[in-house]
């Protein structure tokens, strides 16, 4: 019975997904619920499933005790810059690898790809020394931005995407007296818009959520991103559970809103490169 085994399979799959969803959603739910109750009720670190004493006081405390606005602004600025640099450089490099013939292009591409095999932890200390001791950039926006201004993963993603664009368009543009950069700018980029949108969103979210590098490279309060600031707040005010949850919500909410409003692109992003054309 084909249909019957299929039904059973679907039921099992659905059950697994429901369990998984609950596991993922509960912490998120706790965070939100915990952020809107008075701290007395949550000081026990065992928040209830329903808000007992609804109040925005934790948010007020969080913003009062920290430089949260500055941190949010930092995060917004850094994520935006990283999004722009990654979209620009990754699409340029991806296009070159996908469509332009140049000596050693394959070798260079494989060297780049192989760097993805090295865990980030391995390069962290050399990178730190390079940025702080050699370039003297410690505790600055540049220091936070530079290492991920372009990433190999994004180049790879864009190469996959650019490969699916018809080469004859490039030839047509070349015959139409378009300059090489003009071809990229006027023909390729407009066609790559869906891919660029996906890349932009993923980069923005990843940059916003990035913790370890900014944490390592920043010292002063006003250079912190929201995630780093939040961590410092947790260390300092480990007893004010409500305010901590409020801070976590402030850090997470922009991404949740972004996700729900651009869901379509996230789904596209998962399949990008897998489906051609």
């Amino acid at each position: 019975m084909k249909t019957r085994s299929k039904t059973i399979f679907l039921l099992i799959a659905a059950a697994c997904l429901i369990v998984w969803s609950i596991v993922t959603i509960i912490p998120l739910y706790w965070m939100l619920v915990g952020s809107v109750q008075d701290s007395a009720a949550t000081a026990s670190f065992r928040p209830s499933m329903l808000p007992e004493a609804f109040s925005f006081a934790p948010y007020e405390r969080f913003f009062a005790k920290t430089a949260a606005w500055r941190w949010l602004l930092n995060s917004l600025f850094i994520s935006s810059v990283l999004t722009i640099t990654n979209v620009f450089f990754a699409s340029l490099a991806g296009y070159a690898f996908a469509k332009l013939k140049f000596p050693g292009s394959n070798a260079i591409f494989w060297v780049l790809l192989s760097t993805m095999m090295i865990p980030a932890q391995v390069t962290l200390i050399p990178l730190y020394i390079l940025i702080v001791n050699v370039f003297n950039l410690g505790d600055s926006y540049t220091a936070i931005i530079l290492p991920t201004a372009i990433t190999v993963g994004n180049i790879f993603l864009m190469k996959q995407y650019m490969s699916s664009l018809p080469t004859s368009l490039i030839h047509a543009a070349r015959i139409d007296a378009c300059s090489e950069f003009g071809i990229f700018w006027k023909v390729i980029l407009p066609l790559a818009k869906p891919g660029l949108a996906v890349l932009a969103i993923f980069t923005f979210v990843a940059s916003w959520n990035e913790f370890f590098w900014p944490f390592l490279i920043t010292n002063s309060t006003e250079m912190r991103t929201i995630q780093v600031g939040l961590a410092s707040f947790v260390f300092a005010e480990s007893t004010d559970f409500g305010a901590i949850m409020a801070g976590a919500s402030v850090g997470a909410l922009p991404m949740l809103i972004l996700f729900f409003s651009l869901q379509r692109y996230f789904l596209q992003g998962i399949t990008i490169g897998a489906v051609k054309g």
Binding site: P166, S168, A172, A173, R174, I175, D176, A177, G182, P190
Partner: protein, 368 residues
């Protein structure tokens, strides 16, 4: 003066395993000013590669390419005074038809009024006036094809390059566009290099045809010459439909013997085949030069043989009759009034004046 000349042009590709593959092996030809020349051959024979080398999209491995009076080896495509129509049209999907047509002229920094006039002209030649503000995806296949043509026309190039421009159209539209392309050639008075794998398209459009196989030019000649005097068995088999029959034969003094019959050769043929006396050769005869004995007006009945019909296909205007000689199936294209059905044993007339003979070892035509 826009002649195009290849001087011993080769093109090799290196594949992933560092094997070199010769896509075009030492091409030599001259395309005259205002001539319509068609490159034809099976897929993968190097037609597109040849065209792209003329365009400058591909750099030849060795040899010289001349357009007009200039050697263009190191010229960028935009400086070669050519325009190209691509197989998949390659219209810019995000631009309107107007923008598609004017893109090249804009890049060349032509004055606005000039561009406007050129676009208008091309649009009215091709009947695209109403579609200038639309995007390519809103057009039918035939209309897109016209836009692709228009994009070439606005450039006023010395040489038009066409890469299988009709292959994505349905049969009816293809024939209509074929006629229009012929007219367009007269109207534009430009040199046209046209690539196709379709020998009918080549025969109907080309003033001269370059037949290619496996990167090697087989013959350059007019359609009638190719049909009547193919240089080798490849050309003989490629041009004409149904294809020419190749029959194993043996020369014996002034006769040739084939399985089941013996034909006396004409004086010329006997003289020409003298050196093959006692050897095997291949007799090439087109299906339309074999007749049923009951319907062969004006054909000498001298060369006849009996054969057992296997299959008959009725096409209305003619019938295709299949019978065997030795191990080969032979096709005859006969008049519909010829009496023919399967299993009939029938007398066939061979018009040997139209037959051609080939050397089985070299596959070259035996010439005299």
């Amino acid at each position: 003066m826009a002649r195009v000349e290849f001087r011993n042009v080769r093109k090799q590709f290196d594949d992933q395993n560092k094997q070199t593959f010769t896509a075009v092996a030492g091409s030599d030809f001259v395309i005259n000013d205002k001539e319509f020349v068609v490159f034809v051959g099976p897929s993968g024979c190097g037609k597109t590669t040849s065209l792209r080398m003329i365009a400058g999209l591909e750099q030849q491995t060795s040899g010289d390419i001349v357009i007009g009076e200039r050697i263009v080896n190191n010229l960028h495509p935009k400086d070669r005074d050519i325009a190209m129509v691509f197989q998949d049209y390659a219209l810019y999907p995000h631009m309107t038809i107007r923008e598609n047509l004017s893109f090249g002229l804009k890049n060349l920094k032509k004055p606005k009024a000039y561009i406007e006039q050129k676009v208008q002209e091309a649009a009215s030649i091709l009947g695209l006036d109403d579609m200038l503000e639309r995007k390519p995806r809103e057009l039918s296949g035939g209309q897109r094809q016209r836009v692709a043509l228009g994009r070439a026309i606005v450039r006023d190039p010395q040489v038009f390059l066409f890469d299988e421009p009709l292959s994505n159209l349905d049969a009816k539209l293809r024939i209509q566009m074929r006629v229009e392309l012929g007219e367009l050639h007269k109207r534009l008075g430009a040199t046209i290099v046209y690539v196709t794998h379709d020998q009918v398209e080549a025969m109907t459009l080309g003033e001269r045809i370059v037949v290619m196989n496996k990167g090697v030019i087989q013959q350059v000649a007019s359609p009638t010459e190719l049909y009547a005097n193919p240089r080798n068995m490849f050309v003989a088999g490629f041009i004409g439909s149904p294809a020419m029959n190749f029959i194993d034969a043996r020369v014996e003094e002034e006769r040739i013997r084939i399985d089941g019959a013996e034909f006396v050769l004409s004086q010329d043929a006997a003289e020409g085949l003298k050196s093959y006396n006692g050897r095997e050769i291949i007799l090439g005869i087109r299906p339309e030069h074999i007749y049923g004995e009951d319907f062969a007006p004006g054909v000498s009945t001298e060369h006849q043989m009996q054969a057992h019909i296997k299959v008959v296909e009725h096409l209305g205007s003619e019938n295709l009759v299949y019978f065997r000689i030795g191990s080969r199936t032979v096709t005859a294209k006969v008049h519909p009034e010829t009496k023919a059905y399967s299993n009939l044993s029938k007398q066939f007339i061979f018009d040997l004046n139209k037959a051609r003979y080939f050397d089985p070892a070299t596959e070259e035509r035996i010439d005299w």
